[in-house]
């Protein structure tokens, strides 16, 4: 027993004396927190965020760190898994803020985690950028919380205007998931915008279903009978495939329009030819991208083997925003509270940031003013840039 104890003790001391990685902890670094759903319902979203963050870190490390006030600081990423749960997102944020002393947090992606996590970040006065959350409550009355994407109250009217101008239709149908926050909100905004344009009752069918439903024939039959000229369905990729295919089978041959939730690579894979020729609004278009966007896509594709979806692109932009804000903070005092405030102020002042998903300037609420992109699914199944609509 005694021998064992002394052996362990000596081993500990020896390792302590020579542990170089422990020594390097003393160096002053900028820590950036990533709060992403690595496990849970939407691991693909977490993976996209993590990969984008790793690519960003590579760039920053290659440049020798982030330069603030003439001094270059190395950057460290703290990736925390929020398990796609609200309470886990809150504990992850609390941990990163109080334990890891992160300067800024990127994430969480979905609104159900971003809303409570944003509350934590705001209470501790730590800047946070949620790349993907579209719920207005995430940033409302929270000076320290920002987001990287446009909001549903903007996207709904954009689509209503696009359909009106492009096709000249006056009668629309909507099919959405009543139990999921994002499709429901968007369906409502679309309906309001459409009815404002074409008068009361111009949304001739407003049908709903519940998450995990797989048979939509009764709703679709109603929609077809209603005489609608276009179908709007703001669903996620797995449901889009079912809805579009079932609609085609039931004899629907008019256009189908979707929202940014269609923007996953899986949509076309699952949906097949039925989806060709459909339109959706999104943050960026992978096919036909140019400049920095194309560079990002190619690099990502080469490194991880697939075309990045909008979450990865938005995370990339949010990290870019964070970097711009840190660089614009003047100097890092070492007092983390002061530095966080300085970064927040710099972030609010960012103007015309050139991101790969469009140029951004933050409003008072911390929401960016940016353009939406309309994408057409081409005859080969690629996402083609069709049109850009700005506020």
């Amino acid at each position: 027993m005694k021998k064992l104890v002394s052996a362990v003790a000596i081993a500990c001391i020896v390792v302590l004396c020579f542990s170089t990685s422990a020594m390097s902890q003393r160096q002053k670094t900028i820590k950036v927190g990533i709060n992403a759903p690595m496990t849970g319902d939407i691991p693909k979203v977490g993976e996209g965020s993590k990969y984008a963050a790793e690519m960003w870190l590579e760039d920053v490390t290659a440049a020798g760190g982030i330069e603030v006030g003439g001094v270059k600081y190395p950057v460290e990423l703290i990736v925390e898994d929020n398990e796609s749960k609200a309470e886990s997102a809150v504990t992850a944020n609390t941990k990163m803020i109080t334990q890891d002393d992160v300067l800024i947090i990127i994430g969480p992606q979905s609104s159900k985690q971003a809303v409570p996590a944003g509350d934590v970040a705001n209470n501790y006065e730590t800047p946070m950028i949620s790349p993907w959350s579209t719920n207005p409550a995430t940033t409302a009355d929270r000076p320290f919380v920002f987001r990287g994407c446009f909001l549903d109250p903007f996207q709904g009217p954009v689509l209503a205007n696009f359909i009106t101008e492009e096709f000249g239709f006056t009668k629309a149908a909507v099919l959405y998931d009543v139990a999921s926050d994002y499709p429901k909100g968007l369906a409502e905004f679309f309906k309001a915008a459409w009815e404002e344009k074409h008068g009361e009752g111009s949304v001739v069918a407003y049908e709903s279903f519940t998450t995990k439903d797989t048979d939509f024939s009764s709703q679709l039959t109603k929609i077809i009978r209603s005489g609608a000229e276009v179908l709007f369905t703001p669903q996620y990729y797995n449901e889009v495939a079912l809805i579009v295919n079932q609609a085609k089978d039931l004899g629907w041959d008019k256009p189908i329009v979707g929202s940014d939730s269609w923007g996953s690579a899986e949509t076309v894979e699952l949906c097949g030819e039925a989806c060709y020729g459909s339109f959706f609004s999104t943050h960026y278009a992978a096919a036909g991208a140019q400049g920095a966007t194309k560079e990002f896509i190619d690099r990502y594709n080469e490194k991880y083997g697939y075309v990045p979806d909008d979450v990865a692109a938005l995370t990339w932009d949010s990290l870019g925003l964070a970097q711009a804000a840190i660089e614009g903070a003047g100097e890092l005092t070492g007092d983390i509270k002061k530095d966080r405030r300085a970064v927040r102020d710099a972030l609010a002042k960012v103007e015309n940031f050139e991101g790969i998903t469009g140029n951004m300037t933050f409003t008072e609420e911390g929401d960016p003013q940016k353009c939406a992109v309309i994408v057409k699914i081409s005859d080969t199944g690629a996402y083609e840039f069709y049109k850009s609509i700005c506020p």
């Binding site: 302590l16 902890q25 309470e87 109080t98 334990q99 809303v115 926050d181």
Partner: protein, 421 residues
């Protein structure tokens, strides 16, 4: 060797361990920063350093050294050295009424916990969520353990309590966009919060009648199916109620669920449920579980007994839900789904059926493991279920099952022989 080690420390009473823990916490508060600085740790490690060690394995010796210096050595040394003193103390407390001695120990325990958690806000949050899981697990144990049924509606009851209390605090004490101006002055809020929690629990208990009335006419799997359906009904109902936020949920509840508040509720819950299970109702409940016909013939009103126990369990789930909503300050219906159910069931079956003690162990170990293994990401979801499987193989009733808390035994002085007490 382990046996000798245990024997050395068998003379330490509960009071001694508390004293040791107290000294360790004091060391951490006053010297924690210094020690962690010299051990090249970035900060005082929160959960015994597991988070740091798993992220950067090179730091494992440093973390071990820290744990030894701050926790193990002081706790063991102080508790052993002070054993004569604390044993005398325990002997004196033994002469007091049991409730007084227990209360003194609980207050001391809370003081230590408060100091320990106060070092980091992250600890506070983890401790709060763990204590809420304890309430949930103990209350589910009434139904799944003592009553011997299989109920799946606990997240539903929790949702009822969470939403009821959230709506009440938002309507009464905060200026909310949905519910308008506060009806009562905000200063009253923290004082009325316990009442609001009780109302939340009561709503959950009334809701549980919807499961209890149809399903207790029969025995067996029906309850599992009906209660599962109930959980989904509650979730969909809330999703479709625009007035309470629908699928978007409710946010910015006032910050009433402080650490002492959650602790008091947990202590109350354990105490009341312990009394319930050892009361005549508890015995009747066990009789019904073992043989309903026999219990009936022995004049036990089986239907009534089952209903009361079920509502009682639901009440505490509602209280836990209310606390949960005010700790997170956000609720959405998606939280109270299958995932939550799996979590609570895992805690109950891991800890042990028919035992409050076991439920506490289950809730604490699963919640703390979930936090401590955070850096492992996906591997965490392989390790925790693996532990569960192993427990189910080697201890099919859970780690500590069919054991009651005996405060007298726990608090007794240890220097005298067993028989003298």
């Amino acid at each position: 060797m382990i046996k000798r080690f245990l024997q050395t420390f068998s003379v330490v009473p509960m009071a001694g361990w508390l004293l040791g823990a107290f000294v360790a916490v004091l060391i951490e508060i006053y010297f924690g920063n210094l020690i962690s600085y010299y051990l090249y740790l970035p900060k005082i490690p929160v959960l015994l350093g597991t988070l740091v060690a798993l992220r950067d394995p090179a730091l494992i010796p440093n973390v071990l050294a820290y744990d030894l210096a701050v926790y193990f050595i002081p706790v063991l040394a102080v508790s052993l050295l002070s054993a004569p003193l604390t044993n005398a103390l325990a002997a004196r407390m033994q002469k007091m009424p049991l409730w007084a001695a227990t209360l003194i120990h609980i207050v001391a325990f809370y003081a230590i916990l408060h100091l320990w958690a106060g070092i980091s806000d992250y600890r506070v949050l983890v401790v709060k969520l763990t204590m809420i899981s304890i309430i949930l697990t103990v209350s589910l144990n009434i139904i799944n353990g003592y009553q011997g049924e299989f109920s799946c509606s606990h997240p539903g009851f929790m949702a009822l309590g969470a939403y009821t209390s959230s709506v009440l605090t938002l309507v009464l004490f905060s200026n909310d966009k949905v519910f308008g101006e506060a009806l009562l002055p905000a200063a009253l809020g923290p004082w009325c919060f316990p009442v609001i929690l009780i109302i939340g629990g009561a709503v959950a208990a009334i809701g549980s009648l919807a499961v209890a009335i149809p399903s207790f006419r029969t025995r067996g799997d029906y309850l599992a199916i009906i209660s599962l359906a109930f959980m989904f009904i509650i979730k969909s109902a809330i999703e479709n109620m625009e007035i309470i936020g629908g699928p978007r949920g409710l946010s910015s509840q006032p910050n009433y669920a402080s650490l002492p508040m959650v602790f008091i509720w947990m202590a109350l819950c354990i105490w009341i449920i312990h009394n319930f299970t050892t009361s005549i109702y508890g015995k009747a409940l066990n009789a019904v579980r073992d043989n309903e016909a026999a219990a009936n013939s022995m004049t036990v009103n089986t239907r009534r007994t089952k209903m009361i126990a079920f509502m009682f369990g639901a009440f505490w789930a509602g209280v836990a839900g209310g606390l949960f909503a005010h700790v997170l300050r956000y609720v959405n219906p998606g939280t109270f789904g299958i995932q939550k159910l799996a979590e609570v069931l895992a805690m109950v079956y891991f800890g042990g059926l028919n035992s409050i003690y076991g439920s506490i162990v289950g809730a604490v170990s699963i919640s703390v493991l979930g936090e401590a293994l955070r850096p492992l990401e996906l591997w965490k979801w392989i390790i925790i279920p693996l532990i569960l499987i192993l427990v189910m193989i080697f201890r099919p009733h859970g780690l500590i099952s069919f054991t009651e808390i005996d405060m007298k035994r726990v608090l007794r002085p240890r220097n005298t022989a067993e028989g003298e007490r």
